[in-house]
């Protein structure tokens, strides 16, 4: 969609440059020093493979919860959600209050008992215990490839950004960021990654909060922001759409996301959100590092509390940027993107340069770096665990000693980062290949939640059912993609390569509906094939893995306010309240 107003306003400035002073470098350097020291101090506590890959299952719930949310608070979140805040306004909060909180509560209350209680060390390993080896391998392989690729993308985005705003050499950025992550993971393992995620969480929150406060003050508070957004959304032909989350979701033409409420709730709120928060080992691994079952269950629920409030931190900057541009004057501008529209990915850097003097500028930049590094480290720790436990110990060397596994984990960290670096350079060279890979991961991931749902809550689901159901779901996703296309796009990587049969208002809508389609295909496929095949596990083998065969957890020894179910209800009520307040 063309944005003539902003394009004109942004015409003046070509790029955002941050001018650092000595104090900013000192702050950045101090952060790097602490990040590395944490790994160094932790190395002496690291003795077994359980310490390296699972933090010895010893961490308190609040540390795991902040790690859980910190690993998710990557650059994609900080940079991308600000961009979405500019493009879609308050409706971006659907990614939080609909697309995250319910799933986070669900995984804590209902699924963690099986992940943590089964003593599986990874999500693929759970699939092996519940279903069979081929389902595990399929999940482990696709997950391993996806994590190194994501970590590479994070690295590439960081280097590209620093190159643009600080004029630092691209290669140097890649080298320094990967070396730092390498050092703190190789020395301290998962504990080091989680501790750093906790640190990164606070740095990002405290580093970006004053940015939002200054922006709000500048625009004249909340009412000033709403006033400018009214003017802006009217100019876009969708009056009011930027300042409401639900009011304009009735049909896809009245909101800038180009999606209607059903596709949003089912596609994002159910399939994609539950698929990510409940099955992605990157986040689940943090909860599995908790010291006991109760802490593991509380991890995602406690993490949902800050997650619920993040829109104020990451979406608001984007809305402020649009409002500031709409108001004009005062020098705030965004550089234009390739197509001439404002480059919304530069919202956070542009606001840093506008509102932070040297000193706080260093803090803001450090927060940005922290978000990139937590994204990278999260992927790398999940990768080394899945590779070492599920692929190396599972197949290549089942008799490996514990000490040997730790060594393999360290080597895997190095190799994983090297592959990530290769991915970063590939992303720099060939943009299309990266889009393509992302698309393939979309096909594989969309149906995933169906087999976990059936696996955990239906004892009759079989190994063949899960594996072939997963293939069917992936196939359904591909088929749907080949038959659908976002309006105004040419058929190929955006879809429609079989025949552009269904036209969607936005690629987001197409993506949400693809997820619904893939999930349904996988769900039906798994159910039918399971009924047609003989169960491959006895009830005894499924104890602790399936709801009906597992003894219910009684939380009598926990005070009522600490019980996962109670906390979950409180968190859900909070999310409902936020949806209503910003309706």
């Amino acid at each position: 969609m063309p944005l003539p107003v902003l394009a004109a306003a942004a015409g003046g400035a070509r790029e955002v440059i941050l001018h650092l002073a000595a104090v900013d470098y000192v702050i950045l350097g101090l952060y790097f020093l602490f990040v590395i020291s944490i790994g160094w101090v932790l190395r002496k506590y690291l003795k077994t493979s359980t310490d390296f890959f699972e933090s010895g299952r010893s961490l308190p719930a609040w540390v795991c919860a902040l790690g859980f949310i910190g690993a998710n608070l990557g650059a994609q979140e900080v940079i991308g959600m600000a961009a979405s805040g500019a493009k879609y306004g308050i409706a971006t909060s659907h990614f939080y209050w609909v697309g995250a909180i319910p799933a986070m509560v669900f995984v804590g209350v209902f699924m963690m008992p099986f992940y943590y209680g089964s003593k599986a060390r990874s999500v693929p390993e759970y699939l092996k215990l519940r279903f069979d080896e081929k389902t595990r391998i399929f999940n482990a392989l696709s997950f391993a490839v996806m994590t190194v690729f994501s970590s590479g993308i994070s690295m590439h985005a960081l280097a590209l950004l620093l190159n643009s705003i600080l004029h630092v050499d691209y290669n140097l950025c890649i080298l320094v960021s990967s070396l730092i992550v390498l050092i703190y993971i190789v020395t301290g393992g998962l504990t080091s990654a989680i501790y750093n995620e906790v640190l990164q969480f606070f740095l990002i929150v405290l580093g970006l909060l004053p940015l939002v406060l200054l922006g709000l003050k500048d625009i004249g508070g909340w009412s000033g922001l709403m006033h400018q957004l009214q003017g802006y959304s009217a100019a876009q032909g969708m009056p009011g759409a930027w300042s409401h989350s639900w009011a304009y979701m009735g049909n896809e033409k009245s909101n800038p996301m180009g999606i209607e409420w059903f596709g949003l709730v089912m596609g994002l709120g159910f399939v994609l959100s539950f698929g990510y928060w409940c099955t992605d080992f990157l986040v689940v691994q943090r909860a599995m590092a908790a010291k006991d079952m109760s802490a593991a269950r509380r991890t995602p629920i406690l993490a949902a509390v800050p997650k619920m409030l993040f829109p104020a931190l990451v979406i608001l900057p984007g809305m402020l940027a649009v409002a500031l541009l709409q108001r004009g004057g005062h020098g705030f501008s965004l550089p234009p993107a390739a197509d001439g529209t404002p480059n919304y990915n530069m919202v956070v850097p542009a606001m840093l340069s506008q509102y932070f003097p040297n000193g706080m500028l260093g803090v803001g930049l450090t927060a940005l770096m922290a978000s990139f590094m937590s994204g990278m480290a999260g992927n790398v720790t999940a990768f080394n665990t899945v590779w070492t436990y599920d692929l190396y110990q599972g197949h290549l060397n089942p008799a490996a000693s514990d000490a040997h596994l730790v060594t393999v984990g360290r080597i895997t960290t190095v190799v994983g980062l090297l592959i990530s670096v290769a991915c970063a350079y590939a992303a720099r060279q060939y943009n299309n290949i990266m889009d393509m890979l992302q698309l393939v991961f979309g096909f594989v991931n969309a149906p995933l939640f169906a087999i976990f749902l059936l696996g955990m809550f239906w004892r009759r689901a079989t190994g063949h059912g899960a594996f072939f159901g997963l293939l069917l779901g992936t196939l359904s996703a591909m088929l749907f993609h080949g038959l659908s296309i976002p309006v105004g796009e040419t058929a190929w990587i955006k879809g429609g390569w079989i025949a552009p049969h269904w036209v969607f208002h936005s690629s987001m809508a197409q993506n949400f509906w693809m997820a619904i389609f893939a999930f349904s295909g996988c769900f039906l496929g798994t159910a039918l094939i399971s009924l047609a095949t003989a169960p491959n596990k006895t009830d005894d083998q499924l104890r602790g893995l399936v709801y009906s065969l597992t003894e219910k957890i009684r939380d009598h020894d926990t005070p009522w306010y600490g019980r996962p179910a109670v906390l979950g209800v409180v968190v859900l009520a909070g999310a409902v309240a936020l949806n209503i307040i910003f309706w």
Partner: protein
């Protein structure tokens, strides 16, 4: 027994806070007019950092004793 994560975190925020406060006192006030709407954010937010860092350190000591 693991390292208490509040110790490195508290130290880092305390140090960052002190640096920001010192810089807030010594820097040219003009930069605050130019950037942060006349507010000395380094001084204000540096104090927030320092207090938060000290708070974390106090918490970690309490737990140990």
């Amino acid at each position: 027994m693991h390292l208490d994560v509040r110790i490195p975190m508290g130290l880092l925020f305390l140090l960052l806070g002190i640096i920001l406060v010192i810089y807030g006192f010594t820097s040219d006030p003009a930069i605050y007019q130019q950037h942060s709407l006349g507010q000395n954010v380094n001084l204000v937010w540096g104090s927030v950092f320092a207090v938060f860092g000290a708070f974390l350190l106090v918490l970690s000591r309490r737990r140990r004793t």
